[in-house]
């Protein structure tokens, strides 16, 4: 029989894990509110800027951006030159965005803690079913989002990232939750550690890249209409470059996931590739993002078209994770539901 204290401590850990996750969700919600407020303010400022370009030019001059002012004065109604908006508004950061960041960091620490507790409770890596995979993948998304802040201000993406993670944590805790149970024989492999973790890394990078692509599309439309750019949001071109760099990393992880998954499939199921539904969708995602990378090298496909591909690709990732896991029949039936 299992020692009583061990059983108790497992139950405690599971409980602690959930408490940490629920607290994280609450704080993510606060962060989301602040980020959204910040975004709304930026949008209204941009609208005012579009309405009164000269006045904005003067205020920009106060900020000490002489060169930029000249540019705006020369072309008061035209789109600002590339890269200018960032430089002009860099020094000013809104309080709400900063609060959003602080809350995100706090929530993330709890989120990681809750995920680690879950792993300790199970005595293995915390990504063996849909609930745990969601915990880990969303923690990675936030982690990457926070790390990128060190060299690139991505606060404008805060609402998207925290909103996305909040929704998925909500679905995970209410719909995906399963008790800690031992692994079935097919999952008892070190490939579980490698294959699934790298898949969640890839998901995280794709998710951020797709988020940037969404903002890129918005920004490109504003630029095309000659509307003022949103404060502290890079130009569509910069966003595209940034999205590309994240997605390329995601693509490398995804390629590794496919290869590692094939090796594992050979060990567990006797064949490295069998067009199982999950294999098919992982392949589809790989091909879409391969298409995205090629689109960026194809004339006429840079910009909004490739951004759309990135968004379609990430939608396929989400489809693969939710619909395929829950409703499609296949060998990857490890949702635990």
């Amino acid at each position: 029989m299992i020692p009583v204290h061990a059983a108790v401590s497992q139950a405690t850990l599971v409980n602690d894990s959930l408490v940490a996750i629920y607290s994280a969700m609450f704080i993510y919600a606060l962060a989301f509110i602040f980020f959204t407020y910040d975004l709304a303010k930026r949008m209204s400022e941009a609208r005012q800027l579009a309405a009164a370009p000269i006045a904005e030019a003067v205020s920009v001059k106060r900020a000490g951006q002489l060169q930029a002012t000249t540019a705006v004065l020369e072309r008061p109604s035209g789109p600002p030159p590339p890269g200018f908006e960032v430089a002009a508004s860099r020094p000013k950061r809104s309080l709400s965005a900063r609060l959003g960041m602080i809350f995100t960091v706090m929530a993330w620490l709890l989120h990681v803690g809750g995920t680690v507790f879950r792993g300790l409770a199970a005595g293995r890596v915390p990504w063996a079913n849909m609930f745990e995979f969601t915990l880990t993948a969303t923690a990675i998304i936030i982690g990457v989002f926070l790390i990128i802040q060190f060299w690139q201000d991505l606060q404008f993406l805060g609402a998207y990232v925290t909103g996305f993670v909040l929704v998925f944590l909500g679905v995970a805790t209410t719909n995906f939750y399963v008790d800690v149970i031992p692994l079935p024989p097919a999952l008892q492999s070190y490939w579980l550690v490698v294959h699934v973790f790298v898949a969640s890394l890839g998901t995280g990078f794709y998710g951020l890249g797709a988020g940037l692509s969404v903002v890129q599309l918005v920004q490109a439309r504003r630029e095309a209409r000659g509307l003022g750019a949103v404060r502290a949001v890079p130009t569509a071109e910069k966003l595209e470059a940034l999205a590309y760099r994240l997605i390329v990393v995601g693509f490398v992880f995804w390629t590794f996931t496919l290869i590692a998954g094939s090796i594992w499939a050979e060990h567990a199921w006797g064949r490295y590739w069998g067009w199982d539904t999950k294999e098919v969708w992982t392949f589809i995602v790989w091909v879409i993002f391969a298409g995205y990378i090629h689109a960026r090298a194809t004339r006429g496909w840079r910009g909004s078209r490739s951004a759309t591909l990135a968004i379609i690709g990430f939608s396929a990732v989400l489809f693969n994770f939710t619909i395929v896991n829950l409703y499609f029949h296949g060998l990857h039936s490890y949702s635990g539901l």
């Binding site: 470059a241 760099r245 390329v248 090629h294």
Partner: protein, 547 residues
């Protein structure tokens, strides 16, 4: 101009035009006449263009979708049968389109074969170009570096020609030391390029993808897979006749089977007993086998779900397991007419199992029995009215049988499924629906068969393992190419290819050095790289950078 309607008339009729204005006669664009070779070249160009490749790539993704929505013959044959039964009309359309075999269908194959032809048409010229580039020294230093990315310069300095030669020499050494290929022009500038590996990796990635396709395409014919159910204690010899079923590839030859022998000595399933949320769930399966390869010592091996046994050019996987009741049937005189373990198919996680016992000879009539086995039967008083197994271990094992008689069809010579009994043409002797109740047996018990046909004894219940034996020579090649794909991808994406120039510029008796770079492909760190080189070089020469 644009407002004018094109007209072939030479005379100007527009009053806004000067009197001597002359509109060039508009003629239809005539394409050159293309002969057969011309058309072939035209289609080749179209096929190998990036736009077509991108289109085909996205088409592959799109075409792969239906195969995930509809069960596939290869991965889920039972699902296909079920689907066809559920959607008789619609499935005829799907069958015609080959959707149940999406990934070997004509249309899917056509798309990916076109894609790979397009890919090869892209790889060949790029490889030639890259080989030429590898042999070409860096290009001439541009006249004006200040128009290029990352431009930086030092302060003016008063130095003589010898110092300039030294400065450019230092530039050459610095760039070489940083992994650049360097060429000095007129002793005044160093032109450098690095990152040829980027294109090498890119080509490697694409060539290795072709390699995977070729390995699967050509090696696929050598793959064969066989299945064998082995009750514990019994043996399997790797010969064609000993397989339950085998799917041979195109180039399969029965002579190629290496005649090794496997004896299953023990099978140990482990069920969870501590965690009440998963009580009774299987957490480990281990099959212990004695393997004898001709000419080698007999060895004891284990086969587990994630660790197949590699033996004699084959891989042996433990993919299923179940229970096999061992029954003995005797005629009224007490003579044994039938005794063997019969593998039953598991129906649920608690190993409620279903099976068929056929006794064609030795009794007054042929009998067939439809059996259910419950490893831990729950009595109807505590569980449901129908018998049910509540645990996969043999805690309260019960075998129930319905007995039929009639022609079992075993003498017609046609192959008959051992796991099913066609009861339509048989007469029910005992069991649900007849006056005589069905038979119920526990291990060690013997009961009488109906109609005084004899007796049946349940000796014991053993376990069996379901082994899949595969021979797949493509594995090694596909894995090797996959590793190359990955290496090619990483080098092709992350190694920056860039050119850097360092140039001594004389102006009014003074000299300063200029630095600039040029990215070839994505290179977000170009400016930093040029700045780093400029910093090192200016420090070497003791010059200050101009802010």
């Amino acid at each position: 101009m644009a407002s004018d309607k094109p007209s072939s008339k030479a005379l100007n009729t527009d009053p806004k035009r000067p009197s001597d204005h002359f509109d060039a006669p508009v003629t239809e664009v005539t394409n050159p006449r293309l002969g057969l070779v011309g058309y072939l070249r035209f289609f080749w160009r179209q096929l190998t263009s990036m736009r077509t490749a991108l289109f085909l790539l996205l088409l592959v993704a799109f075409a792969a979708v239906p195969g995930s929505l509809v069960p596939q013959q290869t991965s889920d044959p039972n699902g296909v049968i079920q689907y066809k039964a559920d959607n008789p009309g619609w499935s005829k359309v799907l069958d015609f389109l080959g959707v149940f075999n999406t990934y070997s269908s004509v249309w899917f194959s056509a798309i990916y074969i076109l894609l790979f032809i397009s890919l090869i048409g892209c790889i060949i010229p790029r490889t030639m170009h890259h080989i030429a580039a590898l042999r070409t020294p860096p290009p001439k230093t541009p006249a004006r570096l200040d128009r290029l990315p990352g431009y930086l310069r030092t302060e003016d300095a008063t130095v003589d020609d010898e110092d300039v030669a030294d400065g450019v020499g230092a530039a050459r050494d610095l760039l070489r030391g940083s992994g650049y290929r360097v060429r000095v022009f007129d002793g005044q500038s160093a032109s450098a390029e690095r990152g040829y590996l980027r294109e090498t990796g890119n080509l490697l990635f694409h060539i290795a993808l072709v390699g995977i396709l070729v390995a699967v395409g050509f090696g696929g014919g050598f793959i064969w897979t066989g299945q064998k159910v082995i009750p514990v204690g019994q043996s399997f010899a790797n010969t064609l006749s000993d397989y339950d079923s085998i799917s041979p590839g195109r180039w399969f030859s029965p002579d190629s089977l290496e005649p090794y022998r496997l004896t299953v000595t023990k099978f140990v399933p482990v069920y969870e007993r501590k965690n009440l949320n998963a009580y009774g769930e299987a957490i480990d399966y281990t099959a212990y086998v004695r393997a004898s390869v001709p000419g080698q010592k007999t060895t004891n091996e284990t086969i587990k779900v994630n660790s197949p046994l590699r033996i004699g050019d084959t891989d042996v996987y433990l993919l299923s397991n179940g229970v096999a009741p061992v029954v003995t049937v005797r005629n009224p005189a007490g003579k044994v007419v039938y005794t063997q373990p019969i593998p039953f198919l598991p129906q649920d996680a608690n190993l409620t199992s279903e099976g068929v016992i056929k006794v064609p000879d030795g009794l007054a009539k042929q009998i067939g029995m439809l059996g259910f086995f419950y490893p831990t039967e729950c009595s109807p008083s505590t569980c449901a009215a129908a018998p049910v197994s509540v645990d996969p271990s043999f805690t309260n094992p019960v075998l129930t049988l319905q007995v039929y008689t009639g022609d079992l069809g075993l003498n017609s010579g046609k192959p008959v499924n051992a796991y099913s009994l066609d009861t339509d043409k048989l007469k029910l002797l005992a069991g649900f629906g007849s006056k005589t109740p069905g038979l119920t047996l526990r291990p060690g018990q013997t009961v009488k068969l109906p109609d005084g046909l004899g007796t049946i004894e349940l000796d014991k219940v053993i376990r069996y393992v379901g082994l899949d034996i595969h021979h797949d020579p493509t594995q090694f090649w596909v894995l090797s190419f996959a590793v190359l794909v990955f290496l090619g991808l990483v080098t092709g994406l992350f190694i920056p290819r860039r050119r850097v120039w360092i140039k001594a510029v004389r102006r009014g008796g003074k000299v300063h050095y200029e630095y600039a770079g040029l990215a070839r492909g994505e290179d977000p760190r170009l400016d930093d790289a040029v700045a780093e080189i400029a910093r090192k070089h200016s420090q070497l020469l003791g010059l200050n950078m101009k802010p």
